[in-house]
Amino acid sequence: MGAPSHQRDSDDQAERAAFARLRTGDPTGFDELYARHHRNLYSFLVRLSGRVSLAQDLCQETWMAFAVKAGGLDPQTHVRAWLLTVARHAYVDQWRRHHRFGDEAGAEDVADFATSALSASPEHGVFLSEVERALFALPLADRELLLLVGVEGLRQDHVAAMLNLEPATVRQRLTRARMRLANLLAPEPHDKGERR
């Protein structure tokens, strides 16, 4: 799925060129990378945290870190994976510091963007908005895996490196997370009874 391979290759080349410019301190390189990744990074953080205001803070923190550190990064750095890793660490740090960021606090924000899924895709909107809500009802460890692999489309070996886990562990956790998501979305037993 996704873009054809030749388009992906030219995208990769353009991204590498922009990153090379940024590493020399050229702000146009930053602009290009920001334009490519800021929406996905923001979406990831909103879905991970369930809070728009927190996602905005963490997003800003991540971009500032990228701007300052880009010059010292390896030229082969996978920019998207780097940004998602830093963003995830920033969120996990916040989450550990303030355990009061419970799921309930973000419930209204989740409802908001789940509804926006409805308007963005009328065809599958109802199902997708249910998926949004179910994602947020999962434990953090499941949610982040599903977001990184399922939504962001990162390879499992990249995710294993990001989370400092063995690839086999990531596979196993992912399977369990998929199962929990599926169970949350499964029809209630009384629904089955009504269909009979």
Partner: protein, 90 residues
């Protein structure tokens, strides 16, 4: 999709699970004004980081040129030292 068994024989993913649909979730658009502001701040961070990386080398060169100017009594070296120091603030 075929059900899989991750850990125990009792754990199976129901067929047609939502995982495949996750990639269809729409991007959540940030507020455009906020996004521009963050871009501006981070862009300034790029420029500051460039200056910060160059500054130590310039300070070293400025000090060397000043030492050479004092040692040789050369106005040319003195001028270069002042220019190197001034470039830190450009």
């Amino acid at each position: 999709m075929k059900p899989t068994s991750p850990g125990s024989p009792h754990e199976t993913i129901p067929p047609g699970d939502a995982f495949g649909r996750l990639s269809q979730l729409p991007v959540i658009e940030p507020d455009a004004t906020w996004a521009k502001r963050v871009q501006g701040l981070a862009r300034a961070g790029v420029a500051n980081a460039r200056v910060a990386r160059r500054a130590p080398a310039r300070v070293t060169w400025s000090a060397r040129l000043l030492a050479a100017a004092l040692a040789c009594g050369s106005l040319v070296y003195l001028r270069w030292a002042v220019e190197a120091a001034a470039s830190l603030y450009r």
